[in-house]
């Protein structure tokens, strides 16, 4: 396990290095007009040059890159340049993370509990009402663009229940709809996969054997089938929990939730190199850590998996 972890850690660091370097270089390929936004028109060439020089964009590229790595290693993610000039990147991010985290966790909790329950109900009642209902729901969520029903929920449900349309930190009831909206997609996928794995397991020989042995249906379900069916889903759980801090772009912007949603998109548009780099660094680290934890979790759930044995990881 330890050997495997170290190997993975080194691999991860290398991956991170590659991603961050590529993003760093790509940012430098963008047209320089982006750094000025609407003010471009008002500046003359000399002023633009002065500003670009002060941003460090006139240094040779390798020098910029080395500076960038030096700063990362000392824990300095730099100051925003166009999004909120001169404000430390960390200050911008740290105010937003909690909101995304709370909403994300609530949504994951809701998708997991409702989705898994629905999946089990579907598998148990194959081709009966719950199965048909669940399938219909899954098809709907997968086929209709999320923006459509998100907007519908916000415009009409709030109207019916006289709820405010915008999030207000002081009003708990404004939390309800965003969380519901955020979990709709998750419910569909958890239900779909749960149903599929459960149905697979139900037809396996060990279930037939257990039944033949006279074990109660409930205990087979909980002790064997559910556990086995949940293993493949467990792998992605840590990553999805960690990724909640990235926020949900559409929901957050729809309800004016001050989270991280869309921040990356926004700062790319504004060409705020420091922020883009910092966010990419954070998101990539989350992804890498999440996958690693997923592997560990799977090993815990499924004792057959031995991470140190060659070729046994997957």
């Amino acid at each position: 396990m330890l050997k495997y972890s170290i190997k993975r850690l080194l691999q991860s660091l290398f991956t991170l290095f590659i991603i961050v370097t590529i993003v760093f270089l790509l940012m430098r390929l963008l047209p320089e007009e982006g750094y000025f936004g609407a003010s471009y028109e008002k500046l003359d060439e000399q002023q633009r040059e002065a500003i670009l020089t002060s941003m460090g964009l006139r240094d040779p590229i390798h020098k910029q890159l080395v500076n960038f790595y030096k700063n990362i290693l000392t824990g300095n993610l730099g100051q925003s340049i166009t999004f909120r000039p001169k404000v430390p990147v960390i200050d911008i991010i740290k105010d937003k993370v909690p909101y995304s985290l709370y909403f994300g966790l609530a949504a994951i909790g809701m998708s997991l509990s409702v989705g898994v329950t629905l999946g089990i109900a579907m598998a148990k009642n194959k081709n009966k009402f719950w199965d048909r209902f669940g399938t219909g729901y899954v098809v709907f969520i997968r086929a209709v663009p999320a923006a459509v029903y998100f907007l519908f929920l916000q415009l009409y449900i709030t109207g019916i229940f006289k709820l405010p349309m915008l999030f207000d930190i002081d009003k708990p009831k404004t939390w309800i709809l965003p969380v519901i909206s955020m979990s709709l997609g998750g419910i569909a996928s958890y239900a779909m996969w749960m149903r599929r794995y459960m149905v697979d397991e139900l037809n396996k020989d060990y279930v037939k054997l257990a039944r033949a042995k006279g074990l109660k249906s409930k205990s087979i379900m909980v002790k064997h089938i559910f556990r086995n069916a949940f293993v493949p889903m467990a792998q992605y759980l840590p990553a999805s929990i960690l990724f909640t801090i990235a926020g949900s772009i559409y929901i957050e912007s729809l309800y004016s939730i001050p989270g991280m949603g869309g921040l990356l998109v926004e700062v790319i548009k504004r060409q705020d190199n420091t922020l883009v780099q910092a966010l990419v660094l954070i998101y990539s680290s989350i992804g890498i850590v999440g996958l690693f934890l997923g592997d560990l979790l799977m090993a815990i759930f499924d004792p057959r998996i031995n991470l140190d044995k060659k070729g046994g990881a997957r």
């Binding site: 047209p31 007009e33 982006g34 936004g37 609407a38 003010s39 471009y40 028109e41 008002k42 500046l43 003359d44 002023q47 002065a50 500003i51 002060s54 166009t82 999004f83 909120r84 000039p85 001169k86 404000v87 911008i92 105010d95 937003k96 009402f129 209902f133 907007l151 916000q154 415009l155 109207g159 019916i160 229940f161 006289k162 709820l163 405010p164 349309m165 915008l166 009831k173 309800i176 912007s253 729809l254 309800y255 004016s256 001050p258 869309g262 921040l263 926004e266 504004r270």
Partner: protein, 612 residues
């Protein structure tokens, strides 16, 4: 299925139980509305008003910090932080008396210092330090003596820069040269004051958030949460607080603001919403909604169709042929009179397209001489009140052009018309124009080729590099003088490069338009004459069909509780963005009320201008 229904019903009841009715509006002591809220999608990046050149950021600065001069609701110049002023005989030295007792407050309402003349000097010092990267420094140093030299490091003694605090309440500006519109510039952000001690205290953090600025204006920013909300509250110690009628302004960020605002307005959650063109028909058909919506006032942004005299576009669109055609005045006039601007405008304003059309480059009501509008002066008058669209004339000029260009240009002339594909309105408009012009003038005469271009870098890729034949362009004023509207067309500018036109060269070797504008710019003592000369120059530009004036900025429709005619009126600077002086109406204005109010306002304005 029954179980499901029961479950749904139960959820609905729980949710319904959680909520009350509509949120009550906050009322003042006498029962009037005192809290204003709106949603916005364009987030600001800084509160540092000495650095920014962004319109949204001006709006906040305007309400937080006062300027030396101000404008009333008719556009008459009134005292602000300066109570009185005078200029020397030669117009070079301006002495302003600073209002006494105006306090600088911190974000939590604590008194920091008094606003004094030195604050304007400190602001200039900050502005002229290139390290601070002010985007408006150039406007400041374009008029103030030695400011540009100091900015460029040619002199390092700030004493030589033309700004001085004679004593605590006397400020003196020395200008490079007599600038007739100098006073109007004092309303711009680069002339706002800053407290030097505070600036030193917060250093680099100045303006990064609401705690790192000082307030001496009508409002204090109590909350600043970027991408979330900002709350402005009335400054209880403001020198003119009797004229602030809104106690609190709450702005909530929402990326989908444009989509959600109309619905939020209907539900009473916000007090202002612009109604997009896609929704306006539905609102106009609904009797209750129709009563809530009114036109938005136009701005001083001016839109025009530019004919390019230095075409650099791809060979497939035949730039050389275009060059021959565009140098023929009759060809230009055939387009000038052939363009049905009203038809074009219906793509943006289907109900009342004429209210947004402009027949001149300088908009009406921009400046005036004793109540006579600039556009009514000299040769400009002829164009100001006539629609350029005239089918007969267009065909007449077409025939003349075809005869004159025979053997020289190839017909049909390809009119290469790229456009910014970022918005649907413009995409519709260019198609309307293509069809309309081709049908009127004939496809054997012109072949308009429209070309959608990505919004990113549109201006540098298309207009500035001359890669167009015919293009919708715009320009906004930088100060209250007609000179500002000549900028796009002077040599070295990058709009339509009229310096490359064939002919029109005067004896001194310069182009006629250049000479006309130079003559006007040189007239700095007699303002009447100056305006007449600029009007002549502009009339020349239009008469020779170098450009086709098209429309004004702004416009569209909105539902809102603010009375648009109570806001301060100024063509330039930050006054018009102030909430000071505005009340919240119980019921929004509808279109009829708006039109009536506009007429009344126009009359009152004419009176006010005569009296000033």
């Amino acid at each position: 299925m029954k179980r499901l229904m029961a479950l749904m019903l139960a959820i609905m009841m729980v949710l319904a139980g959680c909520s009350k009715g509509k949120t009550d509006k906050t009322l003042g002591n006498e029962g009037e509305l005192v809290e204003y809220s709106e949603v916005y999608s364009g987030e600001i990046t800084t509160l540092n008003y000495l650095v920014t050149a962004n319109y949204n950021e001006f709006a906040l600065a305007a309400n937080m910090v006062d300027s030396l001069i101000d404008y009333d609701k008719y556009g008459v110049l009134i005292p602000g932080l300066a109570t009185e002023w005078e200029s020397s005989e030669d117009g070079l030295v301006w002495t302003l008396k600073i209002r006494e007792g105006v306090k600088w407050l911190t974000y939590d309402g604590k008194e920091y210092a008094e606003t004094k003349a030195k604050d304007f000097v400190d602001a200039a010092k900050y502005l002229l330090d290139p390290n601070n990267e002010s985007l408006t420094a150039n406007i400041f140093y374009s008029v103030i003596k030695n400011a540009e030299e100091y900015y460029n490091g040619e002199i390092d003694d700030f004493e030589q820069v033309g700004v001085k605090a004679v004593d605590d309440y006397t400020l003196e500006y020395t200008l490079k040269q007599n600038t007739p519109y100098f006073l109007s510039m004092l309303n711009y952000v680069c002339f706002l004051p800053v407290n030097g001690d505070f600036l030193e205290e917060v250093g680099d953090r100045f303006g990064t958030d609401n705690t790192n600025v000082l307030y001496n204006g009508a409002y204090i920013m109590e909350t600043f949460e970027p991408q979330t909300r900002r709350i402005l509250t009335k400054n209880e110690q403001y020198w003119d607080k009797d004229n602030i009628f809104i106690d609190k302004i709450k702005e909530t960020y929402n990326q989908e603001a444009a989509t959600l605002a109309p619905e939020l307005f209907l539900r009473g959650e916000i007090d202002y919403a612009e109604i997009p063109a896609s929704l306006i028909e539905e609102w106009m058909k609904d009797s209750t909604k129709k009563d809530l919506v009114r036109p938005i006032r136009t701005t001083f942004y001016t839109y025009f169709y530019a004919l390019n005299f230095d075409p650099k576009f791809d060979a497939e669109y035949e730039p050389d042929n275009w060059k021959i055609a565009v140098n023929n005045v009759n060809f230009r006039k055939s387009l000038f009179h052939g363009l049905d601007r009203k038809a074009a405008m219906t793509t943006a304003e289907p109900y009342d397209p004429e209210q947004r059309l402009a027949n001149t480059i300088t908009p009406k009501s921009f400046v005036d001489i004793d109540g006579v509008d600039y556009t009514e002066l000299g040769g400009l008058k002829e164009f100001a009140n006539t629609d350029s669209f005239n089918e007969e004339l267009a065909k007449e000029y077409r025939d003349k052009a075809m005869a004159e260009l025979e053997g020289k240009a190839k017909f049909p002339v390809i009119v290469y018309m790229p456009y910014n594909s970022g918005g649907t309105e413009l995409a519709n408009r260019v198609q309307v124009i293509e069809q309309q012009l081709e049908n009127l003038l004939g496809k054997d005469y012109i072949d308009i080729q429209i070309d959608p271009k990505p919004p990113t870098n549109f201006l540098s890729e298309v207009r500035r590099s001359g890669k167009y034949a015919f293009l919708e362009s715009n320009w906004g004023p930088d100060y209250a003088d007609p000179e500002t509207y000549t900028d796009p067309f002077t040599p070295g500018s990058n709009y339509n490069f009229p310096e490359f036109v064939e002919g029109y060269t005067d004896a001194n070797g310069d182009k006629t338009y250049t000479n006309l504008t130079n003559k006007a710019k040189a007239e700095i003592l007699d303002i009447d004459k100056r305006y007449e000369l600029f009007a002549e120059a502009e009339a020349f530009l239009i008469k020779e069909a170098f450009v086709i004036p098209y429309a004004l900025g702004g416009g569209g429709y909105a539902a809102g509780r603010l009375d648009p005619f109570e806001s301060q009126y100024s063509p330039f600077g930050v006054s018009s963005q102030r909430y000071k002086g505005q009340h919240l109406m119980e019921k929004p204005m509808n279109t009829e009320e708006y039109k009536a109010a506009l007429e009344t306002w126009k009359k009152e304005r004419a009176e006010a201008l005569k009296k000033q």
